[in-house]
């Protein structure tokens, strides 16, 4: 089964996603596909917090900042893959090889990798961020980032069997459903 989890920032999406992944996996293998590439001490601290949050839950961490589908080359298809987060993945792909210029192929590349996980992995849980409801006029780059991320979200929402919006740690099911 594939599950998409979205919602506002800092309201417990990662912890919730970990619980879902554990549940989906039963006794099977669990992989945490960590997409964030740390750039400073603040990032490293967040990563440490996430690692300690999931310690003892049986996840093997795969640090994959780009080409997300390659997690299957490393781990095989047999297992539950928690991809956290789509937001960071897109950012990394946007700045992969263009020396400061945003890569126009980034969203398409992300979709190919995510599609591979959806088709081949036993189970997958994807975490993304809902960043579409504020009253602000962003610069062109930020708008193109927002529209690309929304494109990935809509792709995942279409393909996943369950789509959950998390609000203050509580789940709103937009599609599918299962016992939490």
């Amino acid at each position: 089964m594939n599950v998409l989890i979205s919602g506002g920032c800092k309201n417990g999406k990662s912890a919730f996603a970990q619980d879902i992944a554990v549940k989906l996996s039963g006794g099977g293998r669990r992989f945490y596909v960590a997409t964030m590439i740390p750039y400073d001490g603040e990032d490293r601290k967040r990563i440490e917090n996430h690692i300690s949050d999931r310690s003892g839950m049986g996840f093997t961490t795969l640090e994959i900042g780009r080409d997300v589908g390659s997690c299957l080359d490393i781990a095989g298809e047999n297992g539950t893959f928690l991809v956290d987060s789509i937001t960071a993945l897109l950012l990394n792909e946007l700045f992969s090889s263009h020396g400061g210029e945003a890569d126009p192929e980034a969203a398409e590349r992300c979709i190919r990798g995510l599609d591979r996980i959806i088709r081949q992995a036993e189970n997958a849980v994807f975490v993304t961020d809902y960043i579409y409801s504020d009253a602000f006029r962003y610069d062109e780059f930020t708008e193109s980032y927002r529209s690309s991320l929304a494109r990935l979200d809509r792709f995942l929402a279409k393909e996943c069997g369950a789509v959950i919006e998390l609000c203050a740690g509580s789940a709103i099911f937009h599609k599918g459903g299962f016992e939490l």
């Binding site: 409801s133 929304a150 929402a157 599609k175």
Partner: protein, 125 residues
Amino acid sequence: MDLIIGGAYQGKLEYAKNKYALSDGGIFTCAEDGNIDFSFPCLYKIQEYTLYCAKNGIDAVGVFKSHKNEWENGVLICDDIFCGVVPLGKELRAWRETTGRLCAYLSHEAASVTRIFCGLEQKLK
């Protein structure tokens, strides 16, 4: 009238086109120029019109009320811009306020209200 709201890039127009079999010619896309044509069956990007209203001191709710007979059987689409921090700029604050008041009024008048989330519909009314 059917009201469709949701965040930016969520697929609101695509949803409306499929749901109501709208042709491109039936959709009026608002821009920040103050033009709005209530004779179209679908008004899209209403938040662009309200931005113009906020910047120019126009009462958007009043304008909509005075054209009610034209849109009351239509489809209205507006971005949800209500979940961020209070904007620092005065114009953007007025924009959020005006858009919020308009959406609350339209939501009250609507036969149905649908929120689009990642392309999926969520029935609110």
